[in-house]
Amino acid sequence: MSDTTEKTDVLVIGSGFGGAITAYHLAAGGAKVTVLERGPWLKNDEFEHDYKLGSSYTRIFDFVVGDGMSVLGGNCVGGGSVVYFAAMPRAPRFVFDRHGGIGRRMWPKSVSRETLDPWYDRIEESLSVSKQDWSDASYAGGLWAAACNHAGRTANPLAAAIDNSKCVNCNFMMAGCRFEAKQSLTVNYLPGALAHGAEVRPLHEVQYLERTPGGDYRVHYNIVDDEDYRLQSGSGVIEAKIVVMAAGAAATPVILQRSETRLGTMPHAVGRYFSGNGERLNTAILNEDKVAEILGLSRGDGQLPYGANAIGKGPTVASWDKLDGSLPEYSRYSLEQLYFPPGLGTILAQVPDASGPTWFGKEKKEILKHWKSWLTIFCMTEDDNEGVFGPPPATGNSHRISQQMLGRGNLSYKPTENTWHGWNQADADVKEILEKDGLAKVMPWTNDLVGAYTVHPLASCRMGDDPHTSALDDTSELRGHSGIFVTDGSAVPGALTVNPAMTIAALAERAVPHIVAAARAKGIAVTYGAPAPTGYKSGRDAVLPLLRKKELAGV
């Protein structure tokens, strides 16, 4: 039997940041790499501008409702990078010194902003992350900047992985970018991995892992129907010497939990310490007259001075005034202008000063008529890592309800006072800035319907120095299970106060030389040292001398 089982050197689960980056480097280094991805593989012209269920909008997403927390993530080849807004800031210095609920440093001592910077550099080079200018800011971003300025604050155009020469500001970024302006992994790391012989298999959902008598891993998957994800047709097994888990912070711990009976005890932190990156959304409904009068903004030609919710890209401007490392923990956050399309976000917006219900009913309908004048502000605060995953569902990471997208999961999240402290301060700040002189009316999204809400799941298998509170050591290897590495958002120890993809990606880059060393120890002929998938070499040339000091095999 085992002779007929398919074999690969490195099996990568998930093709988002954690999966695509590691797949590229290991394939480029000479390993046989197979990537299993539960979602479909969409070509450029399949990215539609359409809200109909079954269009790319719902095919490439996964929305899992938990108890007190819902998670929105990518579900396709390229993972979250296909649906994301490509805002790519580095995390501020203080984040790496956070203590959080455990009362001591959350991050491994070896990881700080200084030691991560060379890895951030590699990502900037690979994804063409560039400093955006005011001329790149959308109307929504410009308005947020002007309001911040009026309130005596600063504001920054965001670093982004967007080729502005190709961007048409369609605002359908979440449905996948058919103009190739967004630097999703499908235009850099993944084609690079394929060119080096990696194989990517869409619609393969990994269910659990077990160990072979020889100490390798057997990975079990189901085949998912490409249209109705509730239907599964068949299953299979692949054997691998090294497994890279990158199914995302809402799925990786679930696969490990389901594997526990076969693999043996998991570290305590698997499926615990989940963080939603402290996310909180506020909707402001602008008074267009005041916007014109007080901020002096105009869109010309009889257009409302703002009236532009539908025009743009993702977030283009953020305020970093509260990213001040000297402030106490839980009171540091960024405030970012965001676009949220209808269908997903509008129901959670609440009516300011409502006399009846706030999220539905006649007053809610009235504010929907002003939808173009809505401005959404995304607060990324420091939460308390209070999320815990319950027993795993039968397959995947949720019980699927709809044909695509919607499922019920077992994540539970009961925000602590610390988390509420951060949320309340951020909410009050947004109110202060946007309600000044009657510019707008602001209300936070309600948590009552689907709980808190995150597009930035983190920390469900976090790295750290303390075996009791971290699932991974500082090389991203799963404690007690040599040869299993976790390189997605699960590894990030806690909230970052800014968008996380840049940090997830940098940590995945940082893990690669350690994975290479582990693979060589298992007899795989692989080396480290590929340039960026774009061909640039300066990032690599900067990290190689650092790695040689560590004397990692194969580097």
Binding site: H49, D50, Y51, K52, L53, G54, S55, P89, R90, P92, R93, Y120, S130, K131, W134, D136, A137, Y139, G142, A146, C148, N149, T154, A155, P157, L158, V168, N169, C170, R178, E227, R230, R299, G307, A310, I311, G312, K313, V317, W320, L323, P342, G343, T346, I347, G356, F360, G361, K362, E366, L368, K369, W371, I401, S402, Q403, Q404, R408, D448, V450
Partner: protein
């Protein structure tokens, strides 16, 4: 090309009226005809019902299609209990939830969707899809529904796409500096 044909379940008339009344409480509209009982008529213009909420709910893509009759009978049971508790008299010619006036429908839905209510998940899901019928016409292609004057997309001011069905905005920003940068910004545009 879609392989799986779209399937819409059929539901009884009473369930249809009941769910219309529910959808109309989530996004209210104007009465379709003077004697319209399901639509309470507390708002002008089309609400969730005129936007096709029942078509969306009945579509098997949602995953709640098979539970619609059950949801309708549950909300009617709740309406009966609510009427008893509050001393309202129900009109036996229409389903109990339809018999409630708008404010009572609101109060009941508020109760059912309160965190901790044992059936909260169902009612939130139902509300979510009712809202989607209005705000994104999730059962229809967006460009076609705009062309056909979908009341929700029209109310929200969703613009017409280019002839190839794609949106593009040449004028997308004010194009000038509107605030000072944070002093601790790196040359590549990150927090220092």
């Amino acid at each position: 090309m879609r392989r799986i044909p779209e399937r819409k379940v059929d539901i009884a008339e009473a369930a249809t009226f009941t769910l219309e009344a529910y959808a109309d409480t989530i996004v209210p509209g104007e009465k379709r005809w003077p004697g319209d009982r399901a639509v309470a008529g507390v708002s002008t213009g089309g609400g969730a019902v005129a936007c096709g909420a029942l078509d969306l709910l009945r579509w098997d893509a949602t995953g709640i299609h098979d539970g619609l009759e059950d949801l309708a009978s549950r909300v009617n049971d709740h309406a009966r209990a609510y009427a008893e508790k509050t001393g309202r008299t129900l009109d036996g010619t229409v389903p109990p939830f339809v018999s409630l006036d708008y404010d009572d429908r609101v109060r009941l839905i508020e109760e059912l969707t309160t965190p901790g209510h044992p059936e909260k998940d169902f009612w939130v899901l139902l509300s979510l899809f009712c809202n989607m019928a209005f705000d994104s016409a999730a059962h229809l292609h967006t460009d076609e529904s705009i062309e056909n004057g979908h009341p929700g997309l029209a109310a929200m001011g969703i613009t017409v796409p280019d002839t190839d069905g794609l949106w593009r905005f040449r004028d997308f920003g004010y194009g000038r500096r509107l605030a000072d940068l944070h002093p601790d910004t790196t040359p590549s545009g990150s927090p220092a």
